[in-house]
């Protein structure tokens, strides 16, 4: 019986970790969605200062969330997303229109990919 209790406690900790991790990823996803809308409308106006400010704010939140998100991501994927975000910021600073939009859309898709794996679906199961 003691064995069962210890196992249940360990499982509860694991479930707690999974729930918190999911929350962090969901919050990041929502933040990226809001940023995407803001950045795209600023992009249409060619307001690169606004874009840079928004992305730098997002970068701070990404750095904070990285520790938790990194627990279930390959280091390569994590670095790829981080590099993509930094490159987007640099392209926005020099107003490199085509380079920026390509890099930013890729960053957005990579983050969407994170939440895809957090959800339960037949595709991800198989």
């Amino acid at each position: 019986m003691k064995r069962v209790i210890i196992t249940v406690i360990m499982l509860a900790l694991a479930v707690g970790f999974i729930v918190y991790h999911n929350t962090v990823v969901s919050k990041l996803d929502e933040r990226v969605d809001r940023t995407y809308d803001t950045v795209m409308s600023a992009f249409e106006r060619e307001d690169y200062e606004k874009i840079t400010a928004e992305l730098e704010s997002l970068e701070e939140e990404w750095d904070d969330a990285q520790s938790w998100i990194g627990m279930t991501l390959d280091t390569d994927m994590l670095e790829e997303i981080g590099i993509s975000l930094r490159q987007s910021i640099e392209y926005a600073k020099i107003a490199a229109k085509e380079d920026f939009i390509g890099e930013f859309v890729m960053f957005n898709q990579c983050v969407k990919h994170l939440t895809y794996y957090e959800r339960l679906s037949i595709e991800s199961l198989l």
């Binding site: 064995r3 196992t7 360990m10 970790f17 991790h21 627990m71 279930t72 991501l73 280091t75």
Partner: protein
């Protein structure tokens, strides 16, 4: 490299804890489901050690979930005979009452050559010396020799023998195991007297001391 060292230490502790919680069985006596779980756990633990780029938490969560299911199912099997049959199956009698159960042997894909091999391993030479041959749920085959061929026991000869006493470890490599001393109903003073009789003055000088309830002791001094 430091990451690898740290991950190895953490995974080692987790796997030892997991196997400890799963229970005391030797590898050879594991049920098939337990063996599968043990192998999966070792694979899960090795992955993030070998590749520091792989996420650590995923392996830990997977190991905990496997542990949970294993403990839960083994607890359910302990409480419920139907679940036990479903998970572990039932023993298969290949030979009994003088007859070979060919259907059961076919079900288990066990040939007559395999059967005779197990009989020889048990010390018998032919089926005529054996009463039962049973394949247990963990895959081990038990051979029960018939009474004409099994070794003679003192009971067969009408000889009275004393009940064997279990020997308990009192001192293990310089460490006193007080609980065993209490179990034997002996005191520390008794123990020290026994040691002094062997020319030993301290517990730390002893490699092994064992004793049983009748007071028989074995003392081995540490080599210098």
């Amino acid at each position: 490299m430091l990451i690898t060292v740290l991950r190895t230490a953490i995974m080692y502790a987790l796997v030892v804890l997991t196997l400890r919680i799963m229970g005391k069985r030797q590898i050879a006596e594991l049920e098939p489901s337990e063996l599968v779980v043990t192998i999966i756990i070792s694979e899960l633990a090795a992955d993030p050690i070998v590749d520091p780029g792989k996420p650590f938490a995923t392996a830990i969560v997977s190991i905990i979930i496997l542990l949970f299911f294993e403990v839960l199912l083994s607890f359910a099997a302990y409480k419920n005979i139907n679940i036990r049959s479903l998970l572990y199956g039932k023993p298969s009698t290949f030979y009994g009452d003088g007859k070979i159960n060919q259907k059961e042997m076919q079900n288990q894909r066990y040939s007559i050559g395999d059967l005779l091999e197990e009989i020889r391993n048990s010390g018998a030479t032919s089926l005529s010396e054996v009463e039962y041959v049973i394949m247990e749920t963990n895959g081990n085959v038990s051979v029960i020799q018939n009474s004409r061929n099994r070794p003679v026991t003192p009971g067969d000869l009408g000889i009275k023998v004393s009940v064997p006493e279990i020997s308990y470890i009192i001192i293990d490599n310089g460490n006193l195991i007080s609980s065993n001393l209490q179990r034997l109903g002996k005191t520390r003073g008794w123990m020290m007297k026994k040691l002094r009789d062997e020319g030993i003055s301290k517990v730390s000088q002893v490699f092994y001391m064992g004793a049983d309830k009748s007071g028989d002791t074995v003392i081995i001094k540490k080599e210098k």
